[in-house]
């Protein structure tokens, strides 16, 4: 397994880092400022954990499916899941996005002692920051989507250093993948973390994240007004400020899309316990994918306690979602072919490729 030198060469120097934060704090040599993650000094160590946990280096999709879910996937659009629903929180936290189920589920897990604390993205749209929340109040204050890459996983390294276990995580697909790589433990022995470090992973739908150049754009466009809320529905990105709302065309923010996201194969957090996204249809509800047994248990508990209201996923919507996910994968494959070293795109076994092509053809027919 290579180390920092190759991580810098293959990922950081080529702008392929997605700022997940998993390598930040593993050692004194990789640091972060805002959404930037950089190696500040060559550590000189040939085999390093940083390379091993990076979601953009050597990741084999079927191996990861086997590790996380114990079987290979049938659905090449959404990965392995046992159920898909519309859901919303019965008591939506202030500022929560759409149905507010992420905040609600994490709050429930914390109250029930299923997790000891949770790694979340706090702050606001213009100034998001990593948070390790230990109380439901702290969880609620992190409600609401942020659209830039925030290296929240640095909190996981920090928490591990403090000996914490049973940590909950809300993260982007790359962050879920990073933690799975960490758990898979192909690391130098002294870097191996407790099996019980992470207790729950709630992955987000994410088609791309934006660079911090977004802040300058928003500040200019809103003339420095405080932004209360942002979202990016089909009709284009928009914000809500105290005096009103603004909406732009997607193309206006496209230049801010992180380069690494163009090579990302996973838009629905395929290796999380639960995946949460918008419905692209009803802003009062979320899409919820149940992937693991643990995820299933939490959702059932939430339903029992009346924390979540759950309904069936509309049958007609599934092809739309699957098509969006598969389209992205096909775009990535086309792009990755042209990029030396695949641009951080994972390794996809031939069997998966064949099946994926069939499924994509089926959708587009």
């Amino acid at each position: 397994m290579p180390g920092q030198e190759l991580l810098v060469k293959e990922i950081m120097d080529r702008g392929l880092c997605s700022s997940c934060g998993m390598c930040v704090g593993l050692c004194p040599y990789i640091k972060t400022a805002g959404d930037r993650v950089r190696a500040i000094y060559p550590c000189g160590i040939e085999e390093g954990a940083c390379y091993g946990v990076c979601p953009k280096t050597s990741l084999d999709i079927s191996e990861m499916d086997m590790f996380v879910h114990g079987r290979e996937r049938e659905d090449h659009a959404l990965g392995i899941y046992s159920g898909i629903y519309y859901a919303r929180a019965t008591a939506r936290a202030d500022g929560a996005q759409y149905g507010g189920i992420t905040t609600a589920l994490i709050g429930l897990a914390l109250r029930e002692g299923l997790i000891s604390s949770a790694i979340l993205t706090g702050g606001d749209i213009m100034n998001p920051r990593p948070v390790l929340a230990a109380t439901p109040g702290e969880v609620n204050s992190c409600a609401g989507s942020k659209y830039t890459g925030v290296p929240t996983l640095l909190e996981l390294n920090r928490a591990a250093g403090r000996g914490l276990t049973g940590i909950g995580l809300v993260g982007r697909p790359c962050q879920v993948a990073a933690v799975r790589k960490l758990q898979r433990g192909k690391l130098p022995p002294e870097r191996t973390y407790s099996d019980r470090l992470v207790g729950l992973m709630l992955g987000l739908f994410c088609f791309w994240s934006l660079s911090s150049e977004l802040y300058g754009f928003l500040a200019r466009e809103t003339k420095g007004e405080e932004i209360i809320k942002m979202d990016i529905p089909l009709e284009g990105p928009g914000v809500l400020t105290k005096t009103g709302s603004r909406r732009w065309r997607v193309d206006e923010i496209r230049p801010f899309i992180n380069k690494s996201c163009n090579y990302c194969f996973d838009s629905t957090s395929e290796w999380a316990d639960l995946s949460v996204g918008s419905t692209e249809q009803d802003p009062g509800w979320n899409t919820l994918l149940v992937r693991s047994g643990q995820g299933r248990d939490l959702v059932e508990l939430a339903a029992d306690r009346g924390v979540l209201e759950i309904k069936d996923y509309p049958a007609g919507r599934l092809p739309v979602l699957r098509k969006a996910a598969l389209n992205k994968k096909m775009r990535v494959l086309a792009l990755a072919e042209k990029e030396p070293g695949n641009g951080g795109c994972p390794a996809i076994p031939d069997k998966y490729l064949r099946e994926m092509n069939v499924q994509w053809g089926g959708i587009n027919r």
């Binding site: 640091k31 400022a33 500040i40 000094y41 160590i45």
Partner: protein, 639 residues
């Protein structure tokens, strides 16, 4: 070697003093009333000594904000009829030169002595300037002591000479005099009651070429005086064929070199007055000489002036050996570096055609074999616990994080070492006091041509007061965009912790009206942030943020010099928990000893773990805050 010796009131007593203490004593014997200086090696201890004695004597002593201001203050005292002393290193004369040149024309009233510390070999300087050429250029007489005893006597006599000529007199001391010590015989202390006066009738004006003519007359009188001065002396045969002309400590080296060669019949002419030259005295010994060797540091100053004198006055040819001929040269070449008895012995051996072999050890080859191919160098390093190390690490980290290829411009102080490994090779320019800020402004102004790298300039607190303000004003006026980081260790650390205008006491220990850096910056209209560099992570954040800002802006990284902070206090005990240390494994990679490079963080190769060298550690605890394993423990002394 002690302050008590400097103020001893027993003429004829022999005490051991350093060269700088001897200069101070000489000034006291001359009845100096006003002394001013900006600290610089090798002369920093002269004013340090005088200021501590200011209470015992009727004496005013100050650490001035810079050398020009120091010289102006001392000149004012002279104009008012008092004896005054101004002390600086060679580089300081460059700062003061504008005024010095004018003062040399206007002349002075009370005896005024300028002590210049030249540093051949640049032991503690960025270059080895020979200030005699500047003194010649501005028409000031120069005395050069060859020993500690002479440093005392010349300083004392320079006051009388100055008063006589109504012209400031330079005592040019090199490091091997200032930082040497020896037994000296004390003279009478002169403690006049200073009665300054400068009435409406007094005029000291630099104007017109008539004064230039007067200046030449003064120098002619000085040359005449020099011919009879006891500071020039000769030993050897009456009409020597072989003559060595030496000045400064090279005189002592020359005597020893001739001993080492067992050379006889060689005349040695010691010049204590090297400008203006004592022509008649020189001609007397040159008249019959056929071979003349020059021993001086650094430039061929006496050599050039004597050979030009000989060319005009002596019809026959003399063979001159020195730096111009290439015969008198150290390992770096003629006119470079300092001389010593060995260099002179081998130079003289070459000139005289005799052999000199250095006595030496026999087992050299075997010893070197045991030690391996190359003995490790001893690089200069920030002291253990130096706040600059933390500051440099933070700035370096921030620049890497920023990722736009920011540049770092340097300045003069302890932090100049930041150009080397101890400062992570960060500094890209090093020139003179305050230059970094002026350079940063210039670089910033290149933005209109598309130069868009972030610009950082580092400056120390003493340098900030000394030379940074005009450049900051210029930057604000032109909105030149750079980040000025003031490494504020609350003292002039490099030269031995002298106070500066940011401190609350004066050189004499009197309460001062502190000039706060923040107030100055507010006055100039520059935004600033104050941060403790020991909090490295927070400092990285602050530097990152400030790198992203526009316009001239200032970050003050404030933390007292660790040497000053621990003086007289019990240091914290710092040790490495051997269980927790992961040594050279991934996740650390020997960060503390290999990368952070504090000399107290050592590596136990046998155990594969880090250790703290308690003989070196100053207990700052910064390494503990950076250790990724939390393996470094700091036990603060319980008060």
């Amino acid at each position: 070697m002690s302050i008590a010796g400097v103020c001893l009131e027993k003429p004829g007593t022999k005490v051991a003093l350093t060269g700088n203490e001897a200069i101070a004593r000489g000034a006291l014997e001359a009845g100096v009333a006003y002394a001013a200086s900006y600290p610089g090696s090798p002369t920093a201890e002269v004013l340090g000594t005088l200021s501590r004695l200011a209470g015992n004597f009727k004496l005013y002593a100050e650490w001035s904000v810079n050398e020009k201001v120091a010289m102006e203050g001392a000149a004012a005292a002279s104009f008012a009829g008092l004896r005054s002393l101004v002390v600086m290193k060679a580089d300081g004369l460059n700062v003061a030169l504008d005024f010095a040149g004018a003062l040399a024309i206007s002349g002075c009233r009370g005896g005024m002595v300028i002590v210049l510390g030249d540093d051949p070999n640049a032991h503690s300087s960025v270059r080895e300037e020979d200030s005699r050429n500047l003194c010649k250029a501005i028409h000031l007489p120069v005395l050069e002591p060859s020993s500690v005893q002479e440093a005392l006597e010349m300083t004392r006599e320079a006051f009388s000479l100055s008063e006589d000529l109504k012209l400031p007199v330079v005592v040019r001391c090199v490091t091997r005099v200032c930082h040497a010590s020896g037994d000296v015989e004390l003279g009478e202390l002169n403690r006049p009651l200073p009665v300054p006066d400068f009435t409406r009738d007094n005029r000291v004006i630099t104007f017109g070429i008539q004064l230039h003519a007067l200046q030449e007359q003064k120098l002619a009188r000085a040359a005449e005086w020099a011919c009879h001065s006891g500071f020039n002396s000769y030993t050897g045969p009456e009409n020597p064929e072989r003559l060595v002309i030496a000045c400064g400590p090279c005189y002592m080296h020359a005597l020893e070199a001739l001993d080492m060669l067992a050379a006889t019949g060689v005349g040695v002419l010691k010049l204590g007055v090297t400008w203006p030259l004592p022509h008649q005295l020189l001609l007397k010994y040159l008249r019959n000489a056929s071979e003349v060797v020059f021993a001086e540091e650094v430039e061929p100053f006496v050599e050039d002036n004597v050979t030009s004198l000989a060319a005009m006055q002596i019809p026959r040819g003399i063979k001159f050996y020195g730096k111009r001929s290439g015969h008198v040269a150290g390992p770096a070449g003629p006119g470079i570096g300092e001389l010593d008895p060995d260099i002179l012995a081998s130079s003289l051996a070459g000139i005289f055609g005799v052999k000199y072999e250095t006595p030496g050890v026999s087992g050299r080859a075997e010893a070197l074999e045991l030690l391996g191919e190359k003995m490790p160098d001893r690089e200069l390093a920030f002291c253990a616990g130096c706040p600059h190390r933390a500051s440099f690490w933070a700035v370096r980290a921030a620049l890497e994080l920023d990722g736009r290829g920011g540049i770092v411009l340097g300045d003069i102080g302890c932090y100049t070492l930041g150009m080397a490994r101890t400062g992570y090779n960060l500094l890209q320019t090093v020139h003179c006091m305050g230059a970094g800020i002026g350079l940063a402004g210039g670089m910033a102004n290149l933005s209109r041509f598309g130069f868009d790298r972030p610009i950082v300039t580092l400056v120390g607190d003493s340098t900030f007061y000394h030379a940074a303000i005009p450049a900051l004003i210029n930057a604000r006026y032109h909105n030149s965009s750079f980040l000025c980081v003031v490494l504020d260790n609350e003292t002039t650390a490099m030269t031995g912790h002298q106070p500066h205008p940011g401190r609350s006491v004066t050189a004499m220990g009197e309460p001062a009206r502190t000039v706060r850096m923040e107030e100055l910056l507010q006055g100039v209209g520059l935004p600033y942030v104050v941060q403790d560099p020991y909090d490295v992570e927070a400092t990285i954040d602050v530097v990152c943020n400030m790198l992203g800002q526009e316009g001239p802006r200032v970050l003050i990284l404030r933390r007292t010099c660790v040497l000053a902070a621990v003086r007289g206090k019990q240091k914290a005990r710092v040790y490495v928990d051997q269980e927790k240390c992961i040594g050279d494994s991934c996740g650390c990679g020997r960060f503390c000893s290999r990368v952070f490079a504090c000399p107290a963080n050592v590596w136990d190769a046998a155990g594969g773990k880090a250790r703290i060298d308690e003989a070196v550690c100053n207990g700052c605890g910064v390494c503990a805050s950076l250790c990724p394993q939390g393996a470094i423990v700091v036990e603060r002394a319980v008060l």
